[in-house]
Amino acid sequence: MRVQRSSGRRRRRSPADLLVALLAASVLLAWGCSDDVLDGPVDSTAQTNLGGDNGKVGDDGKGGATAKTTTKLSFDVQSVPTGPRILLEPTKTGDKTFTVRLLIVDFANLFGVATHLRYDPKALELTDLKTHELLRGPGYDARAIAKDSPKGRVLLGVARYLVSGSAFQALKGATVNKAAWATLTFKVLKPGKHTVTFDKNATIARRSDYQIVDAAWATLTVSHEEVAR
């Protein structure tokens, strides 16, 4: 009998998992990503049983065991160490599901930021899309937009706007040390390596003086593969 895990359930990690995770973390550190250690866990080697409890995959209920396989959902986050940057913070939430938080880090005088986030809609399904509050401040409100249109191209943007004071005044930007811009929830539709990446032709961050901020934009690779146990 097959029992599907709910994607929100906490999975117990095996010692082997932890070992591999430590190795991966050390690789990331060696790559120079220590500054990008994220709030949520980046379980780059998390393995998920697609077949059911105890890794019994393919049990047809008739007692005839098939080949024992399991799945591995891993994330490879290309990131940058310093300077203004937009990061992707993946978190595994289920066997085939994960969230990605977009984080805005180390911006001074930020007025707004916009992008197209690309993914392969045949491989990933965007099941939820939320934006968060940021860039507000005295005299300023902010608006964020997010729309998956068409599927595979998430149109994102957030900007502050003047709500009080003189109509002739100069604009001011916000200082952002680290803030969540949006959270996207994905479901993996098929095995393989899938990228979640910013379209470099449609990304822009501007200061209050309309100048472009030279920011780094991260790329996320999601690996989802079946492995034999």
């Binding site: 007025f111 916009a114 992008t115 409100d141 937009i145 149109l155 706007y161 004071g165 449609a202």
Partner: protein, 687 residues
């Protein structure tokens, strides 16, 4: 009014007064002549007399009478070619059979009663035989008497003609001798009415600080020629503790027998514009009588104690240099900037002098008041070229004075204050406050009768001149203006002369531009749709402009292109309406990937644009986060404000662009942001 009204109001007033007279012909303007009394004038004068000396001077001077159509100062050349006297080379101007050669004007005022007393020695000269009567235009006069130069009374009849205009008919004892100067002495009293009103500058003022007269015709005008400038010497009588200031070359003061002072101002150029002011002035700048040669034209400021006239002098020199480099050398010996009462309301620029309201003389550098001073002063100084050097031939041509002066001022602030706010403010003022009902063609005399005269003549006019800069390029347009000055300096010109000068300088036929912007009303209104396709080598733009105005308009559209690598490029596309349609389609290929467009950046066109694709304010074909950014940058900008009683007022805001006023309520705010947010994902339709 920002400009606070310079010469236009005066010109308009003159036109309003003069036109019926001119159009009706001399007979209609002349009071009925009573029985002629023959008096023998003392001509020729006694040999060696002072009168003869003056006559010789005037005769020499008269040889330069008329306007040099070729820009030459050679008086003999002018005499050989000048076809008329009144306005030598302008065929449409009435040709007077006699001319005013010179006026010696002595004025004194009674500030307690706003009364003026004047004595004018008028030198006239006949161009043809048989002139036995001189018809003069005046304002309201009292106690008029006319004598010959020796004090013998002449027959004179002054009569109110209409409004504040009067006519003075002088009967001569015998016909004027052709090409010979004759002097008459006219003296009168006048009660001045200093009440200002509407958009006009205050005509005169008498308070404890300033006694000034700007818009009262204390001189005498030719009754038969609509335009008839003359050389003059003005003598202003003041108490011992006051100084007089007036246009022209200040020649100092002489003490009169009664202890008062007589201040002399020589006006060596022919003009009808004048004015004077009396106050406890201090003078700054150059003294043309000091014997020290100035490297350029003299600049002198008269301001009361407590004001810094030197700043005004310094600024004036900068403006002269600026305009001189771009529009031809300053045409006169110099000029004076004269402080007058605050209630004057603005600036007025006769030839060789500028009157400006009190407060601008107190502006501190780089303050808001300083910007006002720069705008006003640059405008008035520009009138030395536009309005005085090149003079509007008729009431249809006031744009040659006001629009070009305001354009010059805007150009100065753009280059020197690094801001196009003045030009953009003018642009918005016309586009948003002039309804079709009040609109009149810029090049028509009807504009003087519109209640939106200022918005059309000053504001629209300056932008129209700036649009020509966009059409031709700055360098070529300034060459055209310089050439225009060369051809029509010290002459009367019409805006209709521009196309030929442009063709001469640039080889381009721009007659369509003058037809569209001078002979017709309106501005550009349209809806923009773009299709952008990308390739490995760049992007291709197709832009469709749907003309929404009554008439499709032709214009050169500046486009700022934004590329994915963060760079920008400015290009121009010509929007030329296709015959029989209201659509224009243009294409342009960029060698980089295009991510956004801003049409008419810096607002160079008189226009209102809309975007057809909902939310796609950056015209890249898709409403997305980049559009949200664009509109957020404009949020909080408004051109209409409500006061606490709910009344709306218009404030031109240089940061305004209606492209981002998606909800179209004259405010860019959260409603527009929400509208863009709602439209996210919309893509432009293919065409």
């Amino acid at each position: 009014m920002k400009r606070l009204f310079s010469r236009a109001s005066f010109l308009a007033a003159l036109v309003a007064i003069a036109m019926p007279v001119v159009l009706a012909g001399p007979a209609a303007a002349e009071p009925t002549q009573k029985a002629a009394v023959l008096i023998t004038l003392n001509l020729p004068p006694k040999a060696g007399s002072a009168y003869e000396q003056r006559l010789i001077f005037h005769r020499l001077e008269a040889k330069s009478h008329g306007w040099a159509a070729d820009g030459s100062d050679d008086p003999h050349g002018v005499m050989k070619t000048a076809p008329t006297w009144g306005a030598a080379d302008y065929s449409n101007v009435f040709k007077a059979p006699w001319a005013i050669v010179h006026q010696d004007i002595t004025v004194e005022v009674d500030p307690t009663k706003a009364r003026l007393k004047a004595n004018v020695i008028l030198t006239v000269r006949a161009a043809k035989a048989g002139i036995k009567q001189i018809n003069l235009r005046t304002d309201m006069l009292e106690k008029v008497s006319v004598t010959d130069i020796n004090g013998k009374a002449l027959q004179a009849n002054w009569k109110k003609v209409m409004g504040n205009a009067g006519g003075l008919v002088v009967g001569l004892p015998h016909a004027l001798t052709v090409n010979t100067d004759t002097e008459l002495v006219v003296s009168y009293d006048a009660q001045l009415n200093c009440t200002g009103g509407g958009y006009r500058l205050r005509p005169c003022n008498f308070d404890s600080n300033y006694w000034s007269v700007q818009f009262f015709r204390y001189y005498l005008s030719h009754g038969q020629a609509g335009r008839h400038p003359f050389k003059s010497d003005l003598y202003v009588i003041t108490p011992i503790d006051r100084m007089a200031a007036a246009p022209g070359i200040p020649r100092g003061a002489k003490k009169l027998a009664d202890g008062r002072l007589s201040w002399h101002f020589e006006q060596p150029e022919r003009t009808e514009n004048a004015g004077f002011s009396i106050a406890k002035y201090k003078a700054w700048g150059d003294d043309p009588n000091s014997g020290v040669a100035n490297p350029g034209p003299f600049v002198r400021t008269y301001a009361r104690g407590g004001y810094n006239g030197q700043l005004v002098v310094d600024l004036a020199r900068q403006v002269i240099e600026f305009a001189g480099q771009r529009m031809g050398a300053f045409p006169w010996a110099g000029f004076s900037l004269i402080q007058v009462a605050q209630n004057f309301g603005g600036g007025y620029a006769p030839l060789g002098g500028i009157f400006m309201l009190q407060s601008v003389f107190g502006a501190k550098k780089n303050s808001y008041g300083w910007t006002n001073l720069v705008e006003l002063q640059a405008h008035e100084i520009a009138h030395q070229w536009w309005g005085n050097y090149v003079r509007p031939a008729s009431a249809n041509d006031t744009s040659l004075s006001e629009s070009l002066a305001e354009f010059t001022s805007c150009l100065y602030t753009e280059k020197n204050l690094k801001s196009r706010s003045q030009m953009i403010g003018n642009n918005l003022s016309y586009v948003y406050t002039v309804s079709a009902k009040d609109d009149r063609p810029l090049g028509s005399s009807a504009v003087h009768y519109s209640k939106k005269y200022v918005q059309i003549m000053y504001h629209k006019g300056a932008v129209v001149m700036d649009m020509m800069r966009t059409e031709l390029g700055e360098e070529q347009w300034l060459k055209v203006l310089t050439e225009f000055g060369k051809q029509y300096g010290r002459d009367y010109a019409s805006w209709k002369h521009f196309p030929k000068v442009i063709e001469k300088v640039t080889g381009k036929d721009m007659s369509w531009f003058f037809q569209q912007w001078f002979a017709e009303t309106g501005s550009i209104r349209g809806q923009i749709l773009t299709n952008v396709s990308h390739s490995s080598t760049g992007s291709h733009l197709r832009l469709r402009f749907a003309h929404l105005g009554e008439k499709p308009m032709r214009f050169r559209l500046p486009l700022r292109a934004y590329f994915s690598d963060g760079t920008t490029d400015n290009v121009f596309v010509d929007i030329i309406p296709e015959k029989g349609t209201h659509l224009s389609i243009v294409e342009h290929t960029f060698d980089k990937r295009l991510v956004g467009l801003r049409p008419d950046y810096g607002r160079r066109l008189l226009r209102r644009f809309q975007v057809l694709t909902p939310g796609d304010v950056n015209l890249n074909g898709l409403a997305d986060g980049t559009d949200l950014l664009e509109i957020a940058f404009r949020s909080g900008r408004a051109i209409v404000f409500k006061n606490k009683w709910g009344k709306e007022s218009f404030f031109p805001n240089g940061l305004w662009d209606e492209l981002y006023d998606v909800v179209a309520d004259h405010r860019i705010d959260v409603k527009d942001i929400d509208a863009v947010a709602m439209a996210i994902g919309e893509e432009s339709i293919a065409f």
